[in-house]
């Protein structure tokens, strides 16, 4: 197919505005899937995604479409995650596209994530096609949606296509707009190969599968290719495109300029493929690699440790597999006095962290502990040296610190008018500042605020949601570093600091947080044979103490013959329970304690 008949696009939308439903309709309309095959939502492949209603992973899919002008087109659809934690993945998908459908729910209007994603798409020069979805709803308000398009996103309202993904309205207009408004890819199929690897996955039978956008040139099975960053060569075994249904891999003879598809090239380990790298011909390489895209740095860090030290290798393997299709996830071996050997992990944001932890638990069946999340602090030492610190344990002695700077974020929060004052209170509590306020319509406002990233890591979103009864939405962009009065808060168990519980917090909040943590731990640590003293300390000074007194009674009353089995099972259960706790000397701390500490903002 000629490159001029190829269109590469993706869909950006706030959660629940209908991205997945619309994708399914497009796939049906183009005959890529039969209607009966369209199970609920085809594109959301992973369980976790379905549960959380977010698409974590981008899956490109090829469709064929004959337009009203009689020409035949190939449309490549990349799905994109909706949450800003995944802006990295969003920009990867965007990098493979020339255009994007921007979905707005006619009943909800523009949301915070819409704003953040539109900013991203515009930065990458994509053609946006606004789609106002769910016009079938009785409370659809198309006029307001159009006004918001113009006022907030500066997109001409007349470009909007009115649609209902559910009722199948406007699907053909959308396909026509894709063909008409999105430019075809540029690039020559007979030029030297330059293919952008924008993702990869690991298939048990095929090894590493590269997701690629061919920018120029052609790639075929049998071609010798090389990855430019690592300068390693491979023989291509197979190329093709993705289909939504099984078998997912649809073999093609070649991929050429403008195509999006996959390449399998006998690559054994995930670490060999750097996402963003350029694939070129081994014999006739391109002069330079593609600009790739900016490798985002993780913003949030946490230590992840196996509960059973023996699981270290298993955890390492699991992390390797996860990183393969989530290049934004970073990990590095570290050790903790309290927790033994584990990994320091970097995430794009808190949602990203939660998802990784949940996937480790669920898909890989790992019993793990995660330490309190940290951002990257800049620490200026008295000798003028500047350190980057993502783990409270790396802080130098406080007498050697000139100042500590923390990362700020610009946060867009959209809420119904009536919740402004409690929300402003929340922002104050989180050491934030409201930069400006803008009415979206008669009912909603958008607050542009500046907050320390550290303060929105743990419970900010939950609190914002609960204040606004679920009607608020937010998203953020990273801002600058700013010095602040930060201190290290330690938690001591029986006199020993448990490094996993340490955190860097603002001085004015340290004491109350210390008290809250100590109390929380007292609640979740079960009584045991030995008394447990819990203390919170700031710079060596104890600011709170609690204790879990030793158990008074724990003994079965009666043991007759048959009870032996029962009693033994009871003891076995006790032992099993202990195994799931982390032992610190004579104290056992249950997994929940670590989770609770994570939740105590």
């Amino acid at each position: 197919m000629a490159i001029k008949n190829t269109r590469n696009f993706c869909i950006i939308a706030h959660i629940d505005h209908g991205k997945t439903t619309l994708s399914d309709r497009l796939l049906e309309f183009t005959g890529t899937i039969q209607k009966r095959e369209a199970q609920e939502q085809l594109l959301d492949a992973m369980d976790l995604e379905r549960e959380r209603g977010i698409t974590i992973k981008a899956h490109p899919i090829a469709m064929e479409y004959t337009a009203k002008n009689g020409h035949h087109y190939r449309l490549n659809l990349s799905d994109t995650p909706g949450h800003v934690d995944f802006s990295y993945e969003v920009s990867r998908s965007l990098a493979a596209c020339e255009g994007a459908l921007l979905i707005i729910d006619a009943a909800q209007g523009v949301e915070a994530q819409t704003v953040a994603n539109v900013h991203l798409a515009e930065k990458q020069g994509l053609k946006l096609i606004p789609v106002i979805n769910k016009i079938d709803l009785p409370n659809a308000d198309v006029e307001t949606a159009k006004k918001q398009l113009e006022d907030i996103l500066a997109i001409p309202a007349e470009e909007a296509i009115l649609a209902s993904a559910k009722a199948g309205i406007g699907i053909e207009s959308i396909l026509e707009a894709i063909v008409e408004r999105i430019p075809p890819p540029s690039g020559k199929s007979d030029a030297k190969l330059q293919a952008l690897t924008f993702d990869s996955t690991f298939d048990t039978y095929r090894g590493v599968v590269i997701y690629t956008r061919i920018v120029q040139g052609t790639i075929r099975a049998g071609d010798p290719v090389k990855l430019m960053a690592t300068n390693t060569s491979y023989d291509v075994k197979e190329v093709g495109v993705f289909k939504p249904q099984q078998p997912k891999f649809f073999v093609r003879e070649k991929l050429q300029a403008g195509d999006i598809g996959y390449v399998i090239a006998n690559i054994k380990t995930s670490s060999e493929v750097k996402v963003g790298d350029t694939l070129t011909g081994a014999r006739n390489p391109a002069e330079s690699p593609l600009p790739g895209f900016q490798v985002v740095q993780p913003m949030v860090f946490s230590g992840i440790y196996p509960i059973n030290t023996a699981d270290f290798e298993k955890l390492k393997a699991a992390m390797g597999k996860l990183q393969l299709n989530d290049a934004a996830f970073h990990y590095m071996a570290e050790s903790s006095v309290a927790l033994g050997f584990g990994f320091r992990c970097g995430f794009l944001g808190l949602l990203h962290m939660e998802i990784i932890i949940e996937r480790l638990r669920r898909e890989f069946d790992m019993d793990i502990i995660a330490t309190y999340p940290s951002v990257i602090y800049e620490v200026l030492r008295t000798n003028g040296e500047l350190l980057k610190v993502d783990n409270p344990e790396q802080l130098p002695d406080f007498s050697l610190i000139e100042e500590i700077r923390e990362p700020m974020v610009i946060c867009y929060i959209m809420i119904p008018n009536e919740y402004i004052s409690p929300l402003m209170q929340l922002i104050m509590d989180k050491r934030g500042e409201i930069k400006h306020t803008e009415s979206l319509d008669t009912k909603r406002v958008m607050l542009t605020t500046e907050l320390p990233l550290n303060e929105i890591l743990v419970d900010f979103v939950d609190k914002m949601k609960s204040i606004t009864r679920g009607y608020g939405s937010m998203d953020y962009e990273h801002g600058e570093y700013r010095p602040n009065k930060l201190v290290k808060l330690d938690i001591l168990v029986n006199g020993e600091p448990v490094d996993a519980f340490s955190s860097i917090v603002h001085r004015d909040k340290a004491e109350s947080r210390g008290r809250a943590l100590a109390l929380k731990l007292k609640e979740v640590i079960p009584t045991q044979l030995y008394q447990v003293a819990i203390q919170a300390a700031i710079g060596g000074k104890i600011v709170a103490r609690e204790s879990v007194s030793a158990m008074r009674k724990n003994v079965t009353a009666k043991c007759y013959g048959g009870d032996i089995t029962r009693k033994r099972k009871l003891l076995e259960k006790q032992k099993e329970g202990k195994k799931r706790m982390k032992a610190f000397g004579t104290v056992n701390i249950p997994q929940e304690a670590f989770i609770e500490v994570l939740k105590t903002g």
């Binding site: 030995y530 008074r552 724990n554 003994v555 009666k558 089995t565 006790q574």
Partner: protein, 361 residues
């Protein structure tokens, strides 16, 4: 050779709301078939059994009539070798004791009686749903003594909702006045599938760890001062009056069990008879397998059971194979008393015996 026999009699005059032993309200129509089934079971599996101890438990064995008990004991005697029998215990509910029954039982060889008094306070007996009063229990006790029973145990329960420590101390003292040979003092346990458990789950009954601990301590104080030795967590005996049958369980001996829900452990195999009287009878009559649970108890497992149970006894356990670090932490904190060849619970350790056992295993 198996030396210990348990016979389960699953009938009670009235079912108590806290009790999870397998039992049903007495049913005259079933009893004869039941007795026949027990004897059939003795025919089927009495080989290799020469009991030193027999324990008739329940339920309430004395829910059977004098005649029925006579039939059962004579029947067993005709089938099994009683020549080495040293201890023959029968459990009683105070409401099911009569002069004739006591005399007949003693005449048939019963030499130990265990009676469920539970409390000497009528209000508490009512809370416990018992059919008898305190004075009836006292009368029954005297009947037993007058009939010539020289080895009597009384069961007591503490930690009952509404029971104060003072009331419990009082119950212990009233028990001592009667000079029994043995006292079993059980902390009330909320057992699944009982009315009490439901009330505990609904939050109506709230177990209080600290108060239960106090009950335990009072028990130890009062009974040891009266010359009783706590030879197992819940069991206190005058010298030489320990229950041999229970000691056999705790020492890991083999035993046979007849009757519905009875366990037996023989040659590394532990099995339970089905806990359903009608079904038990049907299977025995048809010569069918009567077990609904079975597990193998290899030597290693048996050894760890002996640790768990031995720890509860006055002999304690051997320190062999136990992590010395764990032992020294437990001794340093006053839970264990360690000598080169024995580990024993201290007084403080007895209160948390299960947690200590979990550390040691």
């Amino acid at each position: 050779m198996v030396r210990h026999l348990y016979v389960h009699i699953p009938f009670c005059p009235k079912v108590c709301p806290y009790c999870s032993f397998y039992k049903e309200a007495s049913d005259r129509n079933k009893t004869q078939a039941f007795l026949d089934a027990i004897l059939l079971e003795a025919d089927q599996s009495g080989e290799g059994l020469r009991p030193e101890t027999i324990f008739f438990g329940g339920g309430t064995p004395t829910a059977l009539s004098t005649l029925q008990l006579d039939f059962l004991i004579s029947g067993l005697r005709a089938r099994l070798d009683f020549s080495e029998l040293r201890e023959f215990t029968i459990e009683m509910n105070p409401a099911t004791v009569s002069r004739e029954k006591a005399a007949a039982l003693l005449e048939r060889g019963v030499n130990r009686v265990s009676m469920g008094v539970q409390s000497w306070d009528d209000a508490l007996l009512k809370t416990l749903g018992r059919v008898h009063s305190a004075s009836q229990a006292r009368r029954s006790y005297h009947i037993l003594r007058e009939a010539g029973c020289r080895n009597v145990n009384l069961d007591l329960i503490f930690g009952v909702p509404g029971q104060s420590v003072a009331l419990w101390r009082e119950s212990l003292l009233r028990t001592l006045e009667l000079a029994p040979d043995h006292i079993s003092a059980y902390c009330l346990t909320y057992e699944e599938d009982t009315e009490y458990f439901e009330r505990f789950r609904s939050g109506e009954f709230v177990p209080e760890e600290a108060r239960d601990a106090e009950f335990f301590e009072v028990t130890m104080d009062v009974l040891s001062a009266a010359g009783f030795e706590q030879y197992e967590i819940s069991n206190h005996a005058k010298p030489g009056r320990e229950c041999l049958h229970n000691l056999a369980y705790w020492n890991g001996a083999d035993y046979a069990g007849f009757g519905p829900s009875a366990f037996s452990t023989q040659a590394g195999l532990r099995r339970r008879n089905i806990a359903d009287t009608a079904e038990y009878i049907r299977r025995i009559q048809g010569g069918l397998a009567r077990h609904d649970f079975e597990e193998s108890v290899p030597d290693g497992l048996r050894a760890s059971e002996v640790v768990a149970f031995g720890l509860r006894t006055k002999q304690g356990i051997s320190p062999e194979g136990i992590d010395p670090k764990v032992v020294s932490a437990l001794t340093a904190n006053g839970y264990l008393e360690a000598s080169p060849d024995r580990l024993k619970l201290t007084r403080k350790g007895k209160l948390v015996a299960d947690a200590v056992a979990a550390e040691l295993l």
